[in-house]
């Protein structure tokens, strides 16, 4: 299937996206704006996971903030420990532990914080902690055939519980403020403009890797099975597949994507707090995927960028109206254009482009859907 990893039009779409985030944005924006775009792009990781899990597999998770948050917190714990060297924290009653622990009369680093002194451990934990958590949720739900709305509600409940837990355990988690005042990564100051610039590119490159990984799943038989499970779960089961295993895998993969986004969020924004874990951010992440087009990995990126850009500019002028606008947007997408921007692009813009290119001397690419193209190549 390697020959048809992307169709020609998808290669063009990837090139356009890569040019936009790797060249156009860095060339036209100051570091402040670029950092903001970098933050938006961390949500694209989550949205890309949702495209696979929800768009293709039909598993609606309203709790992706859980995994975004866990990934982000793992990274924040490492950075916080590095920022809490005994010299930096000499004025505390217990020097060498994070400041919020000292404020909460914690006098010793909790045992589960200790491994986060190691950077390799942290990198592994960023992905593995959310994935293991997703595995536990997935195994518990999917093996029992919990799906649809019930699954969505349960993930939402878990997101709420995790937020409450983080806020309640202030001495160990930083509570409602989160883990703040992060300074250096292995001695490299992440607060400087040059660091923000570099982190933007690291984030953008990782996003492209994630998109390629997602595409690899999409074009494999696994990808077609996801669609099959969404359509007729029983037929898949009675064709000899353990549906639960497939659902668990894709849910874990979506969690891993979200977690990478969360860790990059912490690095670029410089803190992590429960406000990125709970119900509202989790639903917003679904909206990014829905607006972009829940069947399009590239759409997920545009959805995350556009909705967040709108949120930033809109909520500057009408902060109290933003949530209503967001709700309205979600309803509009579901009712009026269920395939999001990617669907609108395919139905309206592409025919126009095709008309324009037909006038030019070079003939356009054969008008084949990805599925057809795969088949053509196979024959």
């Amino acid at each position: 299937m390697n020959a048809t990893f992307y169709t020609r039009r998808e290669w063009i779409a990837l090139a356009v996206l890569a040019a936009l985030i790797l060249i156009v944005f860095p060339a036209t924006m100051d570091v402040f704006r670029l950092n903001l775009v970098g933050k938006y792009l961390t949500y694209a990781f989550v949205a890309a996971g949702l495209v696979l899990c929800w768009g293709h597999g039909g598993i609606l998770s309203l709790g992706q903030g859980i995994f975004f948050g866990l990934g982000g917190y793992c990274m924040a714990m490492f950075l916080k420990l590095e920022a809490s060297s005994p010299e930096n924290t000499a004025i505390q009653s217990t020097p060498g532990i994070p400041d919020f622990m000292d404020w909460n009369q914690v006098t010793e680093l909790p045992f589960w914080w200790i491994p986060f002194k190691s950077f390799p451990f942290t990198l592994a934990a960023v992905v593995l902690v959310p994935v293991i958590f997703a595995y536990i949720i997935g195994a518990a739900m999917f093996k029992r055939r919990v799906g649809g709305v019930y699954f969505a509600i349960i993930t939402q409940a878990i997101a709420a519980i995790l937020t409450i837990l983080i806020i309640g355990q202030q001495g160990y988690t930083g509570g409602v403020n989160g883990i703040t005042d992060l300074r250096t990564l292995l001695g490299w100051d992440i607060r400087t403009d040059s660091a923000k610039f570099i982190l933007y590119f690291v984030n953008a490159a990782l996003l492209i890797v994630v998109l390629l990984l997602g595409q690899a799943v999409r074009v494999s038989k696994f990808g077609r099975l996801l669609i099959a499970m969404r359509d007729k779960e029983d037929r898949v089961r009675f064709s000899g597949y353990s549906v639960a295993d497939f659902k668990i895998f894709i849910f874990c993969l979506a969690a891993a994507f979200s977690a990478i986004g969360g860790a990059m969020f912490t690095l670029q924004v410089g803190f992590m707090s429960p406000s990125f874990v709970g119900i509202v951010p989790s639903i917003e992440m679904v909206i990014f995927a829905a607006v972009g087009g829940r069947l399009s990995l590239f759409g997920a990126v545009y959805g995350a960028l556009i909705v967040n850009w709108a949120k930033t500019s809109f909520s500057e002028s009408f902060p109290e109206l933003w949530l209503f606008a967001m709700g309205g947007l979600f309803i509009a997408v579901v009712m009026a254009f269920p395939n999001g921007l990617a669907g609108l692009f395919r139905s309206h813009v592409e025919p126009l482009l095709a008309k324009l290119t037909r006038k030019s001397p070079s003939p356009p690419a054969p008008d084949a859907t990805p599925a057809e193209a795969v088949k053509l190549a196979a024959e």
């Binding site: 299937m1 038989k221 077609r224 969404r230 037929r235 353990s242 057809e372 795969v374 196979a378």
Partner: protein
């Protein structure tokens, strides 16, 4: 069936259903049911609505769990196996309403049923090689869809969808196929073609069919099992059951 002695030679049959009971909140949809299917046999199950015919198929393929009794397929006890394991053992099941993947093409529908790469990582590594393509084309030929391989399944006619689902079973190479009303909603010519297909299928498969269309039953059945209120009312050749007074009373008579 009365003459069969299950205790002495249970292995002679491909499928032995014995004392099968399932109770839904006290209502016994299937009640102490026993029947045996031979290799390369077409067995048709008939019976009035609510007789428990579909439930029997659900029990065999693991969709419903039996309250009591046993279902032996070769030397495997199916009542303790999960659905996909039953498929791997060699039992394929077609649902009453055509159950296909509407968003995928005919080719993809058949390919997903090809018995390879059924694990998570197997599916990720699955390659569409010549073996797969040849097999898909061979099956498509059998089910009269050779020219529709690239068609999205959603736009097939009802009869073609039924054939496609039968094809999806065939490509699994099961030893036993279970078809729930395969000709329901089909035109006369489609019925004839389906009967032809079934005659071809039984050359190397055993088949259990649930069907209401008596003409079709007469055309294909080796043996007929008549069910009524979760039990076997009569069993034997079509001729035999048609003249059984019990059957006439509850089913054919009115």
């Amino acid at each position: 069936m009365q003459q069969a002695n299950p205790a002495s030679t249970p292995r002679d049959f491909l499928l032995s259903v014995e004392g099968l009971t399932v109770s839904f909140d006290g209502f016994k949809a299937v009640n102490d049911l026993s029947f045996y299917v031979d290799e390369n046999e077409i067995r048709v199950i008939i019976g009035p609505n609510g007789a428990g015919k579909t439930t029997v198929l659900d029990l065999i393929c693991g969709r419903t769990t039996a309250t009591e009794g046993s279902i032996r397929f070769r030397d495997k006890e199916l009542t303790r196996m999960r659905e996909h394991e039953i498929v791997h053992a060699g039992v394929g099941r077609k649902f009453q309403n055509p159950s296909i993947y509407e968003d995928l093409t005919v080719f993809e529908n058949l390919e997903l049923s090809f018995p390879r790469g059924r694990g998570v990582f197997g599916a990720l590594a699955f390659k569409r090689d010549k073996q797969v393509i040849d097999r898909v084309e061979e099956i498509a030929e059998m089910i009269f869809l050779r020219d529709q391989l690239k068609t999205e399944a959603a736009i097939l006619s009802h009869g073609q969808k039924q054939w496609l689902e039968i094809g999806m079973l065939l490509i699994q190479s099961p030893e036993l196929l279970m078809l729930d009303e395969p000709v329901a909603g089909m035109s006369v010519s489609e019925r004839v073609k389906t009967a032809e297909l079934l005659h071809q299928i039984i050359k190397d498969h055993s088949v259990i069919v649930i069907e209401h269309d008596m003409k079709f039953v007469q055309d294909i059945a080796h043996r007929v099992t008549v069910m009524h209120q979760g039990k076997v009312l009569s069993e034997g050749s079509m001729d035999h059951v048609q003249h059984d007074p019990k059957v006439i009373e509850v089913y054919l008579g009115h």
